[in-house]
Symmetry: C2
DNA sequence: GTCTATATCGCGATAGAC
DNA sequence: GTCTATCGCGATATAGAC
């Protein structure tokens, strides 16, 4: 039975092909202005600021309604510009979503890099889970239906996204292996399963259910889910 | 901060309000013909058969593409009738999805009832998780985006669905409590969290990711996910 | 109840003036 | 690059004959 529709696991190929090969050209196009005097011609600054506003609006709407129910008109209205102007910045709805995903991966990367150097691999992994759950509860985790094929195709063609996804996956992957070797993480669960399980917290419906119940704070929900995830449902 | 959009946890009200009150009128309308001679006028039989075919097609398409991407035309084509004929049976796309959900809840109920009387509460709960995961892997678990409001409104107004959902939730809930009391299930995880965690396996992306990886059989995937869910990621 | 044909409309994307 | 106005398409739902 052949695999139909290629469900696009996040970083499936990344973690499978152990690729430390790609040179990763230090941020392509627009944002690449590290060296040289600050020639950011104000106009360009405004443009960047507007695009940031757009991407943030998209991010919020993606988290709130999901890709299919989000309309480009809404995005334009929320940003306060005309829809046609949006298409001068992004050439399709899929591109908008991709930009939001790139932004999120950037935030994730920054979070990973900001973790205290003293923390153990297991602590890092738990921190990742907490961060993802917090983002979701705060309504800032875009939810892309993993079934939309045009969207998936667009994402898989986005080099910036794939690079950051791969980078994040490899970093987390190294922690998983370290945690298994120091004995804190179960060796009977394959690293790939651990990685996917962490990623899956981004679209876990349990936090939303618990929040709707109204008897737990966001912080309590995060700890409940993290505990059930790492410690399991069985008695220890 | 008020709760916006009422995320509709499955059976949130059910398990919260401990309602053994509702009389549950033994299946309303069409299917209620237990007593009396078999007066099923053939015509009615054919009608029922066709509706079954419709609901099964909807179920499959919901699992494959999700509610938003499923079109009524597709359903009609797959069943082999005209779209207008569909609307003689079901008055809206939401009704179609609701019928599919009712069917699934019926299957779930039957599965629960068919579990061997000798099995322990914990074994029952694991069996539930396995069943849900198997359904999903087999492409027979409808995936309703938990964000679509018109769909949710329709579901929440569907008494048959709510009744079966409540019934299933209460049965599983009783096993959870029993498993906690016999010491096999952790007492530190609230029963509601356990219940939601089991339900959430229906839309867990991890099985799909692993399947796409191609290095595990469906059976292995089910066991991996069940193990990580019940035993946790940490070392035991 | 089934069909063909069509109404209606929401939404992604574009034209073209400024 | 921004706007208003509009196209074009696809999808839900319905009309009306049989």
């Amino acid at each position: 039975m052949p695999i139909r529709n290629a469900p696009t696991p996040p970083a499936a190929s990344a973690s499978a092909s152990a690729s430390a090969s790609l040179p990763t050209p230090a941020l392509p196009a627009k944002a690449a202005r590290a060296a040289g005097p600050v020639k950011v011609s104000f106009k360009t600054q405004m443009l960047q600021a507007r695009e940031n506003a757009i991407v943030q609006a998209v991010n919020r709407l993606l988290a709130e309604k999901g890709f299919d129910l989000m309309t480009v008109d809404e995005v334009a209205t929320e940003v306060g510009i005309a829809k046609a102007s949006l298409y001068k910045h992004f050439s399709s709805k899929e591109d908008l979503a991709a930009a939001a995903m790139v932004r999120v991966m950037g935030l994730a990367q920054a979070f990973l890099d900001g973790l205290p150097a003293s923390s153990t691999p297991l602590e890092r992994l738990k921190s990742v889970a907490r961060w993802v759950l917090q983002q979701q509860l705060a309504g800032e985790m875009p939810s892309l239906p993993s079934q939309n094929s045009s969207l998936r195709a667009n994402l898989m063609a986005n080099k910036v996204y794939l690079d950051s996804l791969m980078h994040v996956s490899e970093k987390i992957g190294s922690w998983i292996e370290a945690a298994q070797q120091d004995g804190s993480l179960s060796r009977t669960v394959p690293p790939l399963v651990v990685l996917y399980t962490l990623y899956a917290r981004a679209c876990d419906p349990v936090p939303g259910f618990l929040k709707a119940g109204g008897q737990y704070t966001d912080g309590q929900i995060v700890e409940l889910v993290v505990a059930s995830c790492f410690d399991g449902l069985n008695t220890r």
